[in-house]
Amino acid sequence: MLRLEGIDVRLGEFQLRDVSLHVKAGTYLTLLGSTGTGKTVLLETIAGVHKPTSGRIHIKGLDATRLAPEKRHLGIVYQDYVLFPHLTVLRNIAFGLHLKGTPERKIKGVVEEMADFLEIGHLLKRRPSRLSGGERQRVALARALVMEPYVLLLDEPLSALDRVTRSRIQNELKRIHTQLGVTIVHITHDLAEAFFLADQLAVMKDGRILQNGALEEVCRHPNSRSVAELVGIENLITATVEDNRLVTVMGDVDLARLSAGKDDLPERICLTLPGWSIELFPDGDPQDYVWQGSLSISDVYLMNGSGIVEVTLAHNGGKNLKTYLSRREAKAISANLRIGNTVPVGFLGKGVYWVPQELSL
């Protein structure tokens, strides 16, 4: 549906460099990256607002690189909705249909149907200034969706919403994707949002796409330290490969039990350990662990509302690691779960992966 090939864009000091991406029809792609990394510029380049200095954009198999925005058949929804303030909700949603010369009766039908779908039928006569954030976001979605775009481009559509509304609109996006089957490119810096919605994940930093693939693949096997950090892997341990051993500040890690990619290891690597791969009081098969030892508890924190307990473990070599327990798990070891206590810890081999240190900037 959408294919970007080696896109370069220069906007003053900022540059998008060699961006390639392939989004199949019906996919929900989330573009993850921190603020200022060029996600919006990329989205606007896809929409035709910025012209690439090199590379090609294909939409539905056709070369759209030089095509004007109005001819690309894409819909865009911004973080702060960008509704036309001088038009009612009805006129906002019908804006594109009017331009297309759709008969008034048909416009009314299409707009009402979409308004019902997004539960904003009662707002049609209002001006945008009289709507709440969530209502505005639904109107912005309706305005884009009535045009039946090939791809719906969402620029951090949930960032400006309160927690309750965000969760509601998040579900709404999932429903839109499932029921209308529209291809979506959604940019965000919120990891939870990406995990909830995406089936494809692209990670971006400094104007480049660092990794792109199926959500699970990118999260399990990040290709660089930056990707690992952006997909929420908080525990990173530098290691060197010496005589078939992995030497770290915490001692040797069992190379043979590493889950993947142990044949072509470079000399200097960075081990990635998701929180779930760090077990307190490891009681499984010893063969499952790539490292076992003792670490002291430096912090215990009950995360508000989620019922998850975050435990920070410190190694005397200066390394801090984080793992997460359910309240039930925490209760089972509550006597030992005190700051300053030293506890046995194991790293599950199936969770530990590595990225080359050369790319770890």
Partner: protein
């Protein structure tokens, strides 16, 4: 808080009085008999109508060129943009008689532009087009700057969204940007028209005749004294007050429904 309000109100009031007192004094001191005869004086009426008309033409033609310039200044990045902005502001800074002389040197009969317009049958010396030209030259910054600020107040992403919804650049301009900032443009046009009506220095260099109201006031002051000059000014002031109050009312922000 109370002191704050008193100080702000006091300072604002002083400024308003500085404007109002001379004008009020002029209106009050006009002799009713002279005022009546001035109102029925065809020369005065023609002069005032000419002033309003010439300034209106100047404003309308500057809307045609000034709004696109304001849009470019607000939306586009281009080399020399700050120089262009400075050039737009220049007519406010230079003495208006100097502006008149500059116009005379370009649109007079000695320069090719003046000659070219002459071939088209348009002369700027002692004509209404000359008056409008002088008025336009000195007052266009009011329109361009107000329109530019208006465009700047419209989020450019509104146009981008409109484009993705199928609007051409023209449609996005008219249906979104212009639709949202027409009040700023109207406000700038009112200011430009008003400034054009008041123009004296640049106009007399190009066209002493036909006589616009400021020139007529000057001539009557020179030839007959204050008694016969001030009634013309009073009529012009009252008429302008009426027109501009009406236009300001039109340009006011509507309360949202």
């Amino acid at each position: 808080m109370k002191n704050f309000k008193i100080v702000i109100s006091g300072l604002s009031g002083i400024l308003v009085l500085i404007i109002v007192i001379p004008l009020a004094r002029m209106v009050v001191s006009a002799e009713p008999g002279v005022l009546r005869s001035t109102i029925s004086d065809p020369e005065v009426i023609q002069s005032i109508l000419l002033t309003l008309r010439a300034a209106l033409w100047a404003t309308l033609s500057c809307i045609l060129f000034g709004v696109p310039l304001a849009y470019a200044l607000a939306r586009w990045r281009f080399p020399g943009k700050s120089i262009v902005q400075g050039i737009v502001d220049l007519p406010v800074m230079i003495p208006h008689t100097a502006a008149g002389i500059a116009l005379l040197m370009v649109y007079g009969r000695e320069f090719f532009l003046g000659k070219a317009f002459g071939l088209l049958g348009i002369s700027f010396m002692g004509t209404v087009p000359g008056i409008s030209l002088a008025m336009a030259f000195v007052s266009l910054p009011f329109l361009v700057n107000a329109a530019r600020d208006g465009f700047l107040s419209v989020d450019p992403r509104l146009e981008r969204v409109a484009r993705t919804l199928g609007a051409s650049p023209w449609q996005a301009f008219f249906k979104v940007s212009l639709a949202l900032c027409w009040r700023s443009i109207l406000s700038g046009a009112i200011m430009m028209w008003a400034r054009g009506i008041a123009e004296f220095g640049a106009v007399i260099v190009l066209a002493y005749h036909p006589m616009i109201a400021p020139v007529l006031i000057w001539e009557r002051l020179e030839n007959y004294g204050l008694k016969y000059a001030s009634p013309v000014a009073v009529i012009l002031i009252l008429l302008c007050l009426l027109i501009f109050s009406g236009l300001r009312w039109l340009a006011r922000e509507q309360k949202e429904v």
